[in-house]
């Protein structure tokens, strides 16, 4: 009972205490001063978990597949954490987080930590602080942290830069090759899963993906294509095996180090970008200048580029973004 101090949180997280883990994730979701001190204190314990992203279009069965994969990983005696992201309403900011409904086996196992996160305006399939939440689960000693993304289309690909392994989940009726050939979602896959493989068209989809994967060879590795049916409980052991084989492959040479460094660069860049943007637009006078610029543009005598340039010239004198804290 009573309030948890920062010391309590650090100690509790490392010990795997559920209440402290839950509170620590809430803390990092806020992204404030305390959250960064917490993560700094936890950093000696962060880095050993494999971060696996499960992404795909809405309705592909991501939550159900994540649930089944968790169970397979648990039979192999691995500690698992799950972060399930659902969208926030762009109008009210509210969110209905329903992934637990599809993760009944994972939520029944007290050793599996399942956390729902609202995307809070972030568009890449994850929330802004999903990585930090994964850091907390990593520090708690989880071997595998699964990110289950918001259903994505053809361009929301943040998950790939946040994960060590990206699994793209498709279904037999995903629209054949015309859809799948589209860039993006194909290129981020380290592994493909044709889920709902009990339905007609699964073999055809598998064949087309295998064919396409020839062009996706990277670092000598061709993304494998697996068929699963979470409904009929087929192909899930093979998926878990593939995940663990990938982990071994990643640990060879400097592969993991290179990936982690790229992830760190993305995170720093993203933090600087969002902080600068927020600071810039909240400076006094910027909003007024923007209105003036909009009026000028509406008069139709200047191009959008010209208007943007004079807007920038008019505000750059007034703004002083000296630090981004």
């Amino acid at each position: 009972m009573g309030r948890l101090t920062l010391d309590d949180l650090v100690e509790g997280v490392v010990a795997g205490d559920r209440r402290c883990l839950g509170r620590a994730i809430t803390t990092v979701e806020e992204g404030d001063e305390t959250s960064w001190s917490l993560l700094k204190r936890l950093s000696p314990h962060i880095g050993s978990a494999l971060r696996v992203g499960i992404t795909g279009p809405p309705g592909a069965g991501k939550s159900t597949l994540a649930d089944a994969l968790v169970r397979e990983l648990r039979t192999r005696d691995l500690g698992v954490g799950v972060i399930a992201v659902d969208p926030s309403s762009p109008f009210t900011g509210g969110a209905l987080l329903g992934d637990r409904v599809r993760m009944l086996r994972a939520t029944e196992d007290p050793e599996v930590f399942v956390r729902s996160m609202a995307s809070r305006g972030c568009l890449g399939g994850l929330a802004r602080t999903t990585q930090e939440a994964a850091d907390v689960l990593d520090a708690a000693g989880k071997d595998i942290v699964l990110f289950e993304t918001v259903g994505v289309g053809q361009s929301e690909l943040t998950v790939a830069s946040a994960c060590d392994l990206t699994i793209v989940v498709l279904v037999p009726e995903a629209g054949g090759m015309v859809q799948a050939m589209k860039a993006g979602v194909m290129e981020i896959a380290d592994m493909f899963v044709v889920n709902k493989a009990d339905r007609p068209g699964a073999d055809e989809m598998e064949f087309q993906l295998v064919d396409a994967s020839r062009y996706l060879i990277s670092d000598g590795r061709r993304p494998p294509v697996l068929k699963t049916s979470a409904l009929k409980d087929e192909g899930l052991a093979a998926l878990a095996d593939e995940v663990l084989q990938y982990r071994e492959w990643l640990h060879q040479g400097d592969r993991l180090e290179l990936r982690r460094k790229a992830q760190a660069k993305t995170r720093i860049r993203e933090l600087v970008r969002s902080a600068l943007e927020e600071k810039f637009w909240s400076q006094a006078g910027v909003d007024e200048s923007l209105s003036v610029a909009a009026e000028t543009f509406r008069q139709g005598e200047q191009s959008l580029l010209e208007v943007a340039q004079s807007f920038w010239l008019s505000v750059r004198e007034q703004i002083a973004v000296s630090d981004i804290s």
Binding site: T26, G94, G98, T107, S116
Partner: protein, 136 residues
């Protein structure tokens, strides 16, 4: 900006009537809250586990089966044991007034019966939770 209110809505036991809880979930979402819905047939242990993992501001049970005098006290007991006894436990369903009063003496918050307006539910959380957050 103040942290968003995060609410757990759960269906406990064998009760399969989830239309009401889904209406409430939507109303809370539309009021800007983050709502975690557990789905049907949860045990008290699963509900408290979800409350811990999700670090919610309120745990709400929807019970239309008549088992409220068993389920509410059990969930309350488990919450106390888990160290989250200060977190609001509330809910609603087909619950007679006398039972509501009795449960409130046991530390359960306000319960909402048939005919409660969605507005009154939203307002209750908006008032009650900031007060309780001071304690957490």
């Amino acid at each position: 900006m103040a942290r968003r209110l995060k609410i757990l809505l759960a269906k406990a036991g064998l009760d399969g009537h989830d239309r009401g809880v889904k209406v409430v979930a939507r109303a809370l979402r539309d009021a800007g809250m983050e709502v975690v819905y557990t789905g049907l047939h949860q045990t008290p242990e699963q509900i408290v586990n979800a409350a811990l993992q999700e670090d919610v501001d309120a745990v709400c049970l929807s019970i239309l089966s008549g088992a409220h005098m068993t389920l509410f006290p059990r969930v309350k007991e488990l919450m106390d044991e888990a160290g989250i006894g200060d977190t609001l436990l509330s809910g609603g369903g087909i619950i007679p007034d006398d039972d509501m009063e009795e449960l409130q003496t046991q530390g359960v918050g306000r319960l909402f019966g048939p005919g409660s307006s969605l507005k009154s539910i939203v307002e209750y959380f908006e008032e009650e939770i900031p007060r309780r957050r001071e304690l957490r």
